[in-house]
Symmetry: C2
């Protein structure tokens, strides 16, 4: 009943220093695993997350699952409907736009700050990350690509020196991943790699202004690639099926 072997999936981007610790608490494992599954789109928005099933999946009781779900709900990554179970969150179009507005406000500042204080070691780690992004893209591994892309932004934020904002940005990035899952357009994609690379270059030459501007542009580009025009998942069923509706007081079949 105790399978504590296979729980060591990729390091969650919210907790960069998670490895090498002695016996991580089980609820954090669950939190991290589910978080990772959500942000890498293995659990699409709307997916039901029954406590029993998760408890069985992790080999623990519902108690721990509940704790993890509670935390995920606080971060707006799942919706906790009273008496009806949890589902992966489905951010509205408005929320999506607000998310990007928030990131456009925060990230350029963070990048600017990081440019003047980032160390060579971190720079190297960033470079390695971008390389892995390219590899993931080359072999068409979208899950991994999304995860790595988020990690890139997170790492830069962590180098900014402001943990408060960096933590918040981590939440925004996770939620952005949900937005992408919901509103991405099938066609285009290849740009963000180059853009990450360019931000990194500016960072490496400690060009704060350029790095900030590139980041802002990158975010604009990301948002532009989404289809935020319609009302998304909140489709009006009444309007959608109006043409097929049997009119209550209308004859004429």
């Amino acid at each position: 009943m105790r399978q504590r072997g296979s729980v060591q999936a990729g390091t969650s981007l919210a907790d960069p220093c998670a490895s090498s610790r002695r016996r991580r608490p089980a609820d954090e494992v669950i939190y991290g695993e589910v978080l990772d599954a959500i942000i890498s789109h293995r659990l699409p928005p709307g997916t039901a997350l029954p406590e029993d099933t998760l408890a069985a999946a992790f080999g623990v009781s519902r108690t721990l699952v509940r704790k993890a779900l509670q935390r995920l709900a606080h971060g707006k990554l799942i919706e906790l409907r009273r008496n009806r179970g949890a589902i992966v969150a489905r951010p509205s179009v408005e929320e999506a736009r607000e998310l990007f507005d928030a990131r456009r406000l925060i990230e350029p500042v963070l990048v600017r700050s990081a440019a003047s204080r980032i160390g060579d070691a971190e720079l190297e780690a960033l470079r390695a990350g971008v390389t892995r992004e390219r590899e993931a893209f080359a072999r068409g591994d979208r899950h991994e690509l999304i995860r790595l892309s988020g990690a890139f932004h997170c790492r830069i934020a962590a180098s900014s020196g402001n943990r408060v904002l960096a933590d918040f940005l981590g939440e925004l990035i996770s939620r952005t991943s949900l937005v992408i899952a919901l509103y991405e357009q099938p066609a285009i994609w290849p740009c963000s790699l180059d853009e990450h690379g360019r931000v990194l270059e500016a960072l490496a030459r400690r060009d704060a202004a350029a790095a900030a501007e590139l980041m802002r542009h990158h975010l604009d580009h990301c948002e532009a690639q989404l289809d935020l025009s319609g009302e998304g998942r909140a489709v009006d069923l009444m309007a959608l099926f109006a043409h097929a509706r049997a009119e209550p007081a209308l004859e004429a079949s």
Copy 2:
């Protein structure tokens, strides 16, 4: 958000309470009550929050208390020490500075946005709030003053139209309250009222630029009133009591 008066904690909830209202989920009550107690300084930083005691105080089992504490911990309002219980968080000086940096980044933008879209009703509510702040100050009710001050910032944020940032600012404001509890200097205080009033005036004439600038100035002022020079609570006991230490293997001091 907290307009619903203070519910007496400590009275047994076994009371039928069959009043007209449908009872709010117990865990939210606990969360709200503890949150309110923390931000109004009735629970100072460092205060222990044993699950048993809280459970008894609210007349519920530890299960619900744990849920509430979990959420409070996610918002960094309490520290959850493994196997050693929860205490009200004690933000470090660095965190305090980061908090203010974050607010200086976000709030002017939010105010600017609010200036162009706030309605007369909200404006009136804001005015009423400032009036109550003045009254609380007049009768020396610091708890209430702190609560109302936070509510003022929250309301403006809510009028900005960006819920994502407004929610985040709500967290920042709560944490700022902890910072004030830890680092406020005894002497000065009277300014923030006028500053709130001035921000409100600018808002009322839809002067976005002025409102943003006033808000930035207000935050500067608030931070300047704190004593963030020393290392705060993290006093080095070794150094503090060095003069009274019995030297283990050293003669002649």
